[in-house]
Each structure stands twice: as structure tokens, then as C-alpha cells.
């Protein structure tokens, strides 16, 4: 099926071909008849061998031969000579078949089946493998078979590692050899990971020595032929092994350590409403923990929360992950703060202690061993309801003239202090990073010699970014250079333009969120002529930045109002960490489907959403279909599917995203999906809605 020319090289003799086909059909027919009737005579078995030589993919013939072998072995009653001759015959048939097609799954499996009967010398098998690997060093069947034989022979990992070295020495352009090398090393490195000081496995020295040696080895591959990809992925893995933090650590939180938070006691943003309305922050005050890697085991035993108003309840911590119910990088819970009538204008000291008792574990199995404590103050203010407070529910408009630059010292929480403490200090990072920084530095200097080609630019960009990741408390350096490198790559390798663009966006956001000055310059008060700015939340405006991917969420947990309009986003994955978000603008981006808005299902405080001017409904292919909780991915029970919303079969994505939201304002205009019936569907789905596409809802 592969690699045959369309116009045959020689003129085809139609009659001869037809005759050949007829003959083959006759043989197959006879074979199937033997098989059906369980005939295992010498002639019948030979027929199957003949067929397999012509067509090793005839899987039923391999099955037949196994049945014949079983019967013949039973008959000869373990007379060693007979057994050997029977099994030898099978190995011969496999070899002949492999000569026809050395990628035949059936042939390789038959050989394994025979070998498991305890036959054939292992040296012979390795010899056969060497022959095959000489013919095609990338044949993964041969590599798999080698692993099978090595396990049977109980060959040591060191010997197999040496074999990969030999293959690499023969030809640097052998991705399969690099892969197998990484396979052995990663299994041994995981032991090294847990204890740097101890000698982990015989033959292996400390982690940085291992890595330094591997870097030298793979560098040769990268420098020999800059277009050959064989070493690229191995090098990336080495980089990851160099900078990855072994320990799960708390990176940031909401609230931030030392903060002073005023909570209006009355239901603030929905004063005009009736009883059963949505709970703003005073009712469900979120606590968010952001780790450096995915962890499990965050619960009321491993995280204790104590505060003045005797909340002696078991808080339920939830992982903010769409499909994983056990682990996540970000965990959240909600404190239900009692009515202010009883405790007006009091301050409460809250203490959150993370990991003082065992139980939090990273998904790679490393226990959380660096407990942290976050203390903050809560002030509950009893604000009398003003008359005409209904008009606070004016429609939010995301226009430039509605925003005024933030002036420090207003009634907001002390933003500057908050921004100073966004990243949690973890001592463990400073001690371990010396050898890591040295390796990164050395590699960067070496790869600067390769800056005229794609892999050189990409590697230097990654190395500089990796360097910053080792120093999370310091301002990132080299951002400008990294951004330039990605811009150059967009021009140099236009097929992968969007890959470089997405990475460029991530670095840009790192830069923007790296300093409080930078963040403050993007904070605005929302000002509407009918409302005072008193108490209106601060808006972080990250619009018009041409960003195509979001990141740096650990720096943004404090954000309540966010403007991401006029960018190139098609996903908001990660935004679920921003538990305080109540107003969000995503207009003029590249969102293609409601399934891309999965993260919004976690934002319980969200009231105002603008997804106008996007591409929802314009695409036949949904690229977030399986990154979304629905019956298709078995992550939502079919009982959640309310058959009353019959028309929602057409709008099932919108249904699942929006159904539990308490939105008061929604903008969807400018998407192909919008229509009168869609708007009717939305109004039905969202009873709390007051504004839809700028029009008041009845």
C-alpha cells in the first residue's frame, strides 16, 4: 500500500496478473477450508507457510499455525528433539515472512509466541535483530522485539544503554536510538530525582553529571546537521530535566499573604434583585492555591483554615481541572461568610496553613514537604442600601472612554502591596539552582553559535526562558531578546508561525505581569456616567496586545474585571484560576466554539460576559470538542442532559457552558451562531439575564 509507483515501470500483462490473482484466491480458499475443518496435515501446514511467504499479513494463517503447533507439541509429548524441530520450523517461517515484509505485526508476534515457549538461544535473536537493524535502524518492530528479548534474557539496563550508544555512534540521525536512550535514562533518573545526594543506581553518578554528559552527546547531533530532527526532542527533554522543580511548591494564592480585604456586606452588585440571587463574594469568598505542578490530596485535613468567625466546617477543596477529578495545579474553596448584621465592621484574621500535615502529593509521586502559611485580614462593612441602587445595574460597556487610569489610594484594597507579594517565596529554590543555572548558562553560550538557523534560535529562546524559570522571584531578563527570536522564527519557518506566535504571547504576558509598574499601568477604573466609581472593581486591560495564548495566571489571581478584547485568542485554558472574575470581555478574538469556553464553568462569580465578534459557528471542526466536559468524553452523565431544552441539541455546547451561570449581561453578536432562535434559547437558559446584546431582557 505504500511506495508503489502509479504508472507501473513495466507494461502490465493483464492476463498474467489475473491468473496470479486467481491462483492466490484458490490457495487462500483451500487454506480456509483446512482451517475450518481443523486439518493440520503436513501438506496443509506447508500450504499455510507458502501463503505467509506471499502474504505475511494473512493473520488467520498465523493463528492456524499456532493451532497446528499446539496439536503437534501435544502429540510429541515433549521429546526435546521433536519440540525443537517443530519450533525451529516456525522461526524459519517467520524469517521468510519478515524478508517479504519486515514490518509485519503478525510475523513478529508469532516469533514472540514461539520464543515464549522457551526455545532459541538469545544470542541468535540478538544476531537476527542486529541484521534487521542494519537494514533499517528505525524499524520500531525490531526495537520492540529487542526490548522483549532483553527482558526475557534479563539483560541489564547498562548493556542496553550501551547498545543505544553504539547505534548513535553509527548514525547520529537515529531518533529511535535517542528515544530508547531516553527510555532507560528516564527510568533511572526518576530514582535520582528523589534524592540528589545519594548514589541512585550503580553506574550512574549524580544528576548533573549525567545531564552534562548527555548534553555533550546530543549537541553533536544538533550541530552536525541543523535540519535533522533526531536530537531535537532529546535535547528538549534534557532541558526539562534540568529545570524542572522536583518538589511541589505553592507558587501563589488568593488572597495574597498580608493582604487586607474589605468586603461589602450587602449583596453588592445585585442590589435590585430578588432573594434567590447569586452570591457575590461576601457569600462565597474564594480561597485559591496555585502550585508549580499538578498535585492531589488538597483537602481540609492537609489545608487548615482558621478565622475569627468560627467556621468549623470541613471546607471542600476542588481541583480546577476540567477532566481530572483528583489533581490539578490550582485548587479552590469558598468560605461562606455569615451575615454582616451580626458582625458589622469587624476585622477577622484568617490563617491558611498548607501542607502542615501529610497528604498533598504531586502527580509524579513526590510528597509536598514545604509547608506554607498565608495570613490575611477580612473587614466586613455594612453598607446601607442606597435608593436607586438599581441603576448600578447599568450595562457595562467595554469602550476606552469608560475607563480611567487607576490612581493609587482610592477605596480599593491596597493594590500596590498586593502586587508586591504575588509570588510566594520558597527557600528551596535558591539552594538547588546553582548547577542548573550553570548548565543553562553553558548551553546558552554554546548555542549562540547556531543562531543563524531554526533550531539554534528556538533553543536559545527556550534556554533564556528556562533561565528565568529558575528565578521566579526576580524580574525576568532577556525578554526582549526572546521576543525577537520568536519573531524571527515566524519569518524563518512560516509553516509553524502559530507555534512561535503562541510562545511569543506567553513571553509577552510574562513580561507584562513581571512588575507591579507594568501591571498598574494596565489597571483602570470602570467609569459610567450613571454610576460613581465608588467601589466599582478595578479592570485589568490586556486588550490589543495581539496575544494568541494566555499564561501567567499565577500573577492574576486578584483580578475581578478583565478586558482581553481585540486579541487573537482561541482558548482561555487556565483562566479558571481567576476565581474572582465577575466581568470578562473576550470580544474580537478567534473563539470558534462554546466548547473553547470550558474554563468559564468554574467562574462562579461571573456576571458579565462579552464574547461578541468571534468565530463561534463559523467552523465545521471543533478543536476543543474533547477538552470539554460532555457526554462525548464521558465526563458528564446523561442525566445532566435536560430533554426539555429540545432545541438545545443544536446548541448543546452553549447549553453545557452557560446553564449553571448567573450571568446578568451577555453579548454574543457578531458570531455566525447568533440568530433570533439562539437568543430565545439564551434567554430561556439564563433567567438572571438583564442585558442581551445591549438590549434589556423582559
Amino acid at each position: 500500500m505504500h511506495g508503489r509507483p502509479r504508472k507501473p515501470l513495466k507494461p502490465v500483462d493483464e492476463a498474467a496478473v489475473a491468473a496470479k490473482a486467481e491462483k492466490l484466491r484458490a490457495l487462500q480458499s483451500e487454506f480456509l477450508s483446512n482451517h475450518q475443518n481443523k486439518i493440520y496435515s503436513k501438506e496443509a501446514v506447508e500450504l499455510s507457510a507458502k501463503l505467509l511467504e506471499i502474504n505475511p499479513e494473512l493473520y488467520t494463517a498465523w493463528n492456524y499455525r499456532k493451532l497446528a503447533v499446539q496439536q503437534n507439541l501435544a502429540q510429541c509429548e515433549s521429546d526435546p528433539e521433536s519440540v525443537n524441530s517443530i519450533l525451529d520450523e516456525e522461526l524459519k517461517v517467520v524469517e521468510n515472512a519478515l524478508r517479504q515484509n519486515f514490518k509485519s505485526y503478525g510475523a513478529w508476534h508469532h516469533r514472540k509466541w514461539v520464543l515464549e515457549k522457551g526455545h532459541s538461544s538469545m544470542d541468535k535473536e540478538l544476531g537476527l535483530l542486529d541484521k534487521f537493524q542494519a537494514m533499517d535502524a528505525r524499524n520500531f518492530h525490531a526495537w520492540n522485539y529487542r526490548r522483549f528479548v532483553a527482558a526475557l534474557m534479563k539483560r541489564s539496563d547498562e548493556d542496553e544503554l550501551e547498545h543505544t550508544q553504539n547505534m548513535i555512534d553509527k548514525n547520529l540521525s537515529n531518533y529511535s536510538a535517542w528515544h530508547n536512550r531516553s527510555n532507560f535514562l528516564s527510568r533511572n533518573c526518576s530514582v535520582l530525582l528523589s534524592n540528589l545526594m545519594k548514589k541512585a543506581a550503580p553506574g550512574f553518578t549524580s544528576k548533573d553529571e549525567v545531564l552534562t554528559r548527555e548534553y555533550e552527546l546530543v549537541r553533536e547531533a544538533l550541530f552536525t546537521d541543523e535540519d535533522d530532527q533526531s536530537g531535537w526532542f532529546y535535547h528538549l527533554w534534557l532541558l526539562d530535566q534540568t529545570v524542572r522543580s522536583e518538589f511541589p511548591l505553592l507558587v501563589s494564592s488568593w488572597p495574597v499573604e498580608g493582604s487586607d480585604i474589605s468586603l461589602p456586606a450587602a449583596d453588592y452588585l445585585d442590589g435590585c434583585a430578588s432573594m434567590n440571587v447569586f452570591h457575590y463574594s461576601s457569600r462565597n469568598f474564594p480561597l485559591v492555591l496555585y502550585f508549580n505542578q499538578s498535585v492531589r490530596g488538597v483537602n481540609s485535613s492537609t489545608v487548615s483554615v482558621s478565622c475569627g468567625f468560627n467556621l468549623n466546617i470541613d471546607l471542600i477543596w476542588k481541583p480546577l481541572s476540567s477532566t481530572d477529578s483528583q489533581s490539578a495545579k490550582v485548587w479552590a474553596t469558598h468560605l461562606a461568610i455569615p451575615d454582616a448584621e451580626l458582625h458589622s465592621s469587624e476585622a477577622y484574621q484568617v490563617e491558611v496553613k498548607v501542607g502542615f500535615s501529610q497528604g498533598i502529593v504531586s502527580t509524579t509521586g513526590v510528597a509536598y514537604s514545604h509547608p506554607s502559611q498565608i495570613s490575611f485580614q477580612l473587614h466586613l462593612q455594612k453598607t446601607p442600601l442606597e435608593s436607586g441602587q438599581d441603576s448600578r445595574f447599568g450595562r457595562i460597556q467595554w469602550k476606552d472612554d469608560c475607563f480611567a487610569v487607576y490612581e493609587p489610594g482610592s477605596a480599593e484594597p491596597d493594590l500596590v502591596n498586593l502586587l508586591d507579594n504575588l509570588t510566594i517565596k520558597n527557600e528551596v529554590e535558591s539552594t538547588a539552582s546553582t548547577w542548573q543555572a550553570r548548565i543553562i548558562d553553558d548551553e546558552t553560550n554554546i548555542f549562540r553559535d547556531l543562531l543563524d538557523c531554526k533550531i539554534g534560535k528556538l533553543t536559545v529562546a527556550r534556554l533564556l526562558t528556562a533561565y528565568n524559570s529558575l528565578r521566579p522571584l526576580d524580574k525576568p531578563v532577556h525578554c526582549k531578546e526572546v521576543l525577537e527570536l520568536y519573531s524571527e522564527l515566524m519569518k524563518l519557518d512560516p509553516s509553524h508561525y502559530q507555534y512561535y506566535k503562541d510562545n511569543h504571547s506567553l513571553v509577552l504576558l510574562q513580561q507584562v505581569t513581571s512588575s507591579k509598574e507594568s501591571l498598574l499601568s494596565r489597571c483602570f477604573h470602570y467609569r459610567d456616567s450613571t454610576l460613581s466609581t465608588n467601589g466599582s472593581p478595578l479592570c485589568l486591560r490586556l486588550n490589543n496586545l495581539a496575544i494568541s495564548q494566555l499564561g501567567s495566571f499565577e500573577k492574576l489571581l486578584w483580578v475581578q474585571m478583565l478586558d482581553l478584547s481585540n486579541n487573537e485568542l482561541q482558548s482561555i485554558e487556565g483562566l479558571e484560576a481567576l476565581q474572582l472574575l465577575s466581568q470578562l470581555c473576550l470580544s474580537n478574538n478567534k473563539f470558534r466554539s462554546f466548547t473553547a469556553l470550558e474554563s468559564l464553568r468554574y467562574l462562579k462569580s461571573l456576571k458579565v460576559l462579552d464574547i461578541s465578534q468571534n468565530e463561534i459557528g463559523s467552523h465545521s471542526i471543533d478543536t476543543t470538542r474533547y477538552l470539554f466536559r460532555s457526554p462525548l468524553s464521558h465526563s458528564v452523565g446523561s442525566c445532566d442532559w435536560n430533554i426539555n431544552y429540545l432545541s438545545s441539541e443544536t446548541y448543546w455546547e452553549a447549553f453545557f457552558v452557560l446553564k449553571d451561570m448567573g450571568l446578568t449581561q451577555l453579548d454574543v453578536a457578531g458570531n455566525a451562531i447568533t440568530s433570533k432562535s439562539f437568543n430565545v434559547f439564551l434567554e430561556k437558559l439564563l433567567p438572571t439575564l438583564k442585558w442581551l446584546d445591549g438590549v434589556e431582557v423582559n
Binding site: 502509479r6 520492540n144 464521558h634
Partner: protein
């Protein structure tokens, strides 16, 4: 560059179905069930499924079923999980899953799960992540996913994950686009895509696009139209398909057409076959090529067929 010669491809598929006089069809007789799935799904994607006699095909499919509940590649051959899935998929296309004894088929598939969560292809015990995908996909279509131990099945797939973000056929096996498709799709269907590092795997996958615009299956190999499916559907499921040049890939696929006699080949000017015709058209579907119905990247069936199964009355 030209356009998609849809009518020619339809004629080609209908002709191949009937041809018995060439050597190729004799040699591929044992996988006719797969061929039926490739050909018929392509016809459906091109809006021409009604050009075949569904009753005749269904009758033949049922003749391929064994006592064990599994289906063979053709009449008289042995059952195997590969052909069992193709049979289920073809019946789904015709909306005739009800002709199946669902309990029997699902028991056959579920019986092939091993202790470690992996799946064998048949009673002879070959293990491969391809079979994990097949079991999960097939049982999901039949709404019987609870007949297997899903957690163990997922754990086995994870054990085949490599440091480059990809997946191999068994633990330690090299990443290969075909295996990656199987593992990613299986994780998609079981709601377990959080085990995939999308950025890492996305880069590995997008680097399959070579200068000619075609996709290969692993580093330093030749491009092939069938990878337009394996790589592209994987990229689609993890939302990284924008990391390749769609225009260049469309051009590559269209260049692999035989615009005179119909059919698509692995590479330009090579011999065409049903396998590559299907993957070329399915690839074009994922690239939103006009005139081709949308295909579901995990089930490898038209989206309207999948939606009918999960959301239909």
C-alpha cells in the same frame, strides 16, 4: 494545485468494491472489513453513502461474525478486535447498530482486556495500544464503556507515554503518529486528556510537517497522506492544529490525487488505494475543505453520526 476530484473518488471507491481480478484485492481480502469502513466513510464524507446497497453490506458484515461475538476481516477468517471495530463503525454509518446483539459484541471486546489494563487483539495475545483505542472506541459507540475497567485501561495507555510527549505501542515503544492518534483518541473518549502535555506533544506533532507541506509519522521519515489523518486528528483533539500550515497540507493532499482515475495515494504519483483515499479525504475534512462533511477526530466517523449516537433521540 487544483481541486478535490470528489466524483472521481466516489467512482473509484465503488469500482474497487467490485474488483476481484487484480492481485492487490486478493492479497487484501483478509481486511475487507477495514476496506469497507474506509470506503464507506469516505462516501459519507462526500455525501454519497446512498450510492451503495446498505442491506447487502450489512448482510455480509453479519456473515463475518463469529460465535465469540467478534468479527473477522472477511468470511471464513478469524475474529479480531480490528475488524470488530470496523464492523461497528460501518453499522453506525448506516444507523443500523440495532442489528447487533450488543451484549455479545461488547462481551467479546471486554474479554480482551488484560490484568494490566491493556488489550489483546484476539485470543492469541498480541498487545498494542491500537487495541486499547479500538476497545474504547467500539464500546463507547455501543454505550457499553462500563464493561471494561476504564481506569486500568487509561493507566496502561499512560504507561506508554514517552518523554517527547508522544505514545508508543507498548511501554517503552517509540512515539509514532499512528499510536499517538490511538492513545490521544482513547484518552479523549474517556475524558482523560489531562494526561497529555498538549504543548509538548503539539510541538512534536507540528514538526511532522515537512518542506513539501506533507506530514510524516515520526522524525526523519517521508511524508505520507495517511499521516494527514493520524497527526492532524491528534492535533485537532488537543487544540494545536493551528500550529501547522493548513494551506500547505491541503495542497499536498490534493497533489496526491489521481484526478484521472480517482483515488488518493500516499505520495504524489504513487499508486492509489482505498486506505489513503479515506485518510486524504478525512484530512481535508479536518482542514475544513469545502464540500466535505465534518469528521469527528476521535471516533473517525462523520460528526453527524457521532452526534446522533450521543445526542440523538
Amino acid at each position: 494545485m487544483g481541486e478535490l476530484a470528489a466524483d472521481k473518488h466516489v467512482k473509484y471507491i465503488l469500482a474497487v468494491e467490485k474488483r476481484k481480478d487484480n492481485f492487490e484485492s486478493a492479497v487484501l481480502e483478509h481486511l475487507r472489513m477495514n476496506g469497507a469502513y474506509w470506503g464507506l466513510t469516505t462516501l459519507d464524507l462526500l455525501g454519497k453513502l446512498d450510492a451503495v446497497d446498505s442491506n447487502e453490506i450489512i448482510e455480509w458484515i453479519l456473515k463475518c461474525q463469529h460465535e465469540s461475538g467478534g468479527f473477522a476481516g472477511n468470511v471464513g477468517h478469524d475474529p479480531h478486535i480490528l475488524y470488530t471495530l470496523s464492523a461497528i463503525q460501518v453499522l453506525a454509518l448506516f444507523d443500523k447498530l440495532n442489528v447487533l446483539d450488543v451484549d455479545k459484541v461488547s462481551t467479546y471486546i471486554a474479554g480482551l482486556q488484560n490484568e494490566d489494563g491493556s488489550f489483546s487483539g484476539d485470543i492469541w495475545g498480541e498487545v498494542d495500544t491500537r487495541f486499547s483505542y479500538i476497545a474504547i472506541c467500539g464500546l463507547s459507540i455501543l454505550k457499553c464503556l462500563d464493561k471494561i475497567n476504564v481506569e486500568r485501561a487509561v493507566n496502561y495507555i499512560i504507561s506508554c507515554r514517552n518523554v517527547d510527549g508522544g505514545f508508543g505501542c507498548t511501554p517503552g515503544g517509540e512515539s509514532h503518529a499512528g499510536q499517538i492518534f490511538c492513545c490521544v483518541a482513547a484518552l479523549a473518549i474517556t475524558g482523560a486528556l489531562h494526561y497529555v502535555d498538549k504543548d509538548l506533544l503539539g510541538w512534536w506533532l507540528c514538526e511532522r510537517q515537512v518542506k513539501s507541506g506533507g506530514l510524516n509519522g515520526r522524525p526523519e521519515k517521508l511524508p505520507d497522506v495517511c499521516y494527514s489523518w493520524w497527526v492532524l486528528s491528534s492535533l485537532t483533539m488537543i487544540d494545536r492544529v493551528h500550529w501547522i500550515s493548513k494551506e500547505k497540507l491541503i495542497k499536498f493532499i490534493l497533489n496526491c490525487q489521481d484526478t484521472e482515475n480517482g483515488g488518493i495515494s500516499d505520495r504524489p504519483d504513487d499508486a492509489v488505494d482505498i486506505f489513503h483515499t479515506y485518510f486524504g479525504v478525512a484530512g481535508l475534512s479536518l482542514l475544513e475543505y469545502p464540500g466535505v462533511k465534518a469528521v469527528d477526530p476521535a471516533y473517525a466517523l462523520p460528526v453527524d453520526v457521532v452526534d446522533r449516537i450521543f445526542f440523538g433521540k
